[in-house]
Amino acid sequence: MMNDVRNNVVGGLLLFFALACAPALVGERYLLNEMIVFLIWASVAVQWNVLTGHAGVFSLGQMLLFAIGAYTVAMTNTYLGISPWFAMPIGATVAALAAVLIGLACLRLAAAYVALLTFAISYMVYVLIITETECFTTVGGGCQRFFGGTSGFSRIDDLGFRKLLRGDWIVGNYYMILGIFALSFLASIIVIHGRLGLAFRALADSPVYAAARGLDRTKFRIVAFVFSAFFTGLTGAAYAAHFRTAGPSLFDFSTLLFILAMVIVGGLRSTWGPVVGAALMMGMVEIAKDMGEIRNTMIGLVIVLFVVLMPDGIAGLSRRVVSRFRKTNDAKEAS
């Protein structure tokens, strides 16, 4: 078990250093920005995988937790002038607290109901935000609603890199986001391959046996939910700090499905799947953009093909390839 952690952490560090070198090789702001988006979605996907793949909680409320982190940064900055640097951990904590409440309300239930209840809650919050019409303050003749309404918040204070690095400010943002991704991924490795992951597996394999051993299913599910909410919220906060906005489009159903597709295409229940899935999906969209007209047709088609042909994702496929390779090798050695 410790070996598992070590191997994965070493792998993670290699990835981290490779990604850390990227700005030196990639001068283009567009590409760096896309890599930032990749790191953000990869972090959300990694946490989703911990929650759904390992703890068996099928949540559709991940974008709500993400948005809570983002809105915390936006609102504390807009109304109280708090720096995004301070607001990020606050955002993560608020998201975790929200997860405690939501978890207590619905994690006793079976998978499908958890999915729907978390979805209903997040949709309700979304509708309340976008139908808000009373102005909280008026800025230059325009209306600023308390939760930002349909336009959300914008022009959140810069992280300070514009002053420091001038034209290369995006490199500063990149490293900040990379740090958060690394934190989130490292935490997921420790959870998946640690004692908590062991408990999850025990609960998934034999709920009765696990219960007999004194493992409380609901308690572990809530722990997993709050844990992943913290990092999802932190990523959301970083999103707001980078894009300097937070708005209701964070709740877009298409975004939710896009990230879910990353988890599934990469491989549910794996460790590295979501990262690979995120890279793949982002790369695919990038290629599709060059195809102009048929962009969405292609994205839809590729998602369907992946899920139908590779139900356990890329991680599952690579496992099968590796085991076949080992088998043939073993056979060769034996003969």
Partner: protein, 441 residues
Amino acid sequence: MTDTNKTTTMPTRRNFLRTAALGGAGSAAMLASLNSAARAQSSEPIVIGAPLPITGAVAADGIEFQRGLEMATAEINELGGILGRPLELVVEDTASGGDDLISSAGQRLVDRSNASVLISGYNLGSNTALPEIAADASLIYMHADTVVRHNELIREDPARYWGSFQYDPAEIYYGIGYLDYIKNLVESGQFTPSNNKIAVITGPIAYSINIANAIRENAAEYGFEVSLYESVQAPISEWGPTLAKLREDPPGFIAVTHFFPQDQAQFMLQFMNNPTPSLIYMQYGASLAAFRDIAGDASEGVLYATVIGALQDEIGLGFSEKYLAAFGDNASVNSGGQTYSALHAYAIAAALAGGAGAAYEEEQNRLIADRLRTLIFRSPMGTMRMDPETQSAFCYPSQTNDPSLGMPHIFSQIQNKNENGYIIAPTPYDVAAFKTPSWMG
């Protein structure tokens, strides 16, 4: 308008140039002469980057924005491009999405397509993503988001956002302009309301709310009383409960600032089942052909206004005719005309400034921005003249008394369900007189 359509068949090159001159107004001649005076600088095309909502909720408008740009690009190239360099249009889809998608599209145009300018109609989101991209890349960005937020942005940090222009007035002028218009209507004796109450119905989008609030806050000053202020969700198809409220206390005026054409059409259809003696004004949506298609007879009598709509004079009709001939009768002149006008204005400004600038060429782009800031450009939508303080187009008559110095805030009334509404105000752009709607007769 339907009559003029018939005359347009297979334009010859001469014909094309003549109508191009009509569409682009005096600008075409100016650009042509600037171009002929100049030696071609290079044959490298100038990339016009267009971050537009081609898919998603507002795709209908996004596609028109693209058409407008395509048409302007073709015309300008026909005239020799900008100082001999042809234009090339590159569109990125913002998918009617939020700032992440919008800024990704914008950044891609800058870095990948080497766009020399960003031009859009409107995008959803916070309306600050593209000004940021433009500021970072020292580019010109022209949009018609029609938001007061743009004005705040420029006022706060003019040094950073020198390149961002809103080529129509902010939405707040709608509210005051509306009150001003109905007051005038009553005072001039064209219309006698049943009472001085206004029912304001708004949707959830900031644009609608800002207009509704402007009406609510200023109504008393103009001698009106807001008797109902209702926010609805979008989309909404069942207006029964809201209409029941209206019918309990029938107001003299109803202002629907929620702007989806299909929702407005449903409102009219359900309203006409049992109408109250109220003059109905609808924001934006009623200006689209879809509104008349869906509402049919119920559309007749409705007032609408726009701060950037095709005029029904020689230039405006010339453009409309050409546009519909190119893209079919369902095409929306008011949307396509926006980006069409913007690109023409940019071309003139760039030609005057000595050529288009690429990304990060701050010096050249600042020259173009200076030209744009002082340009008085007569487009098919009226005169585009920037307020140097907010880099938004001046509004006539709210901000200036001179119609040749501001983008007209035009009021139209649908008097025939088969045609766009007729412009009934302000002078000199009006082509018809206000008619009391049939349900009040």
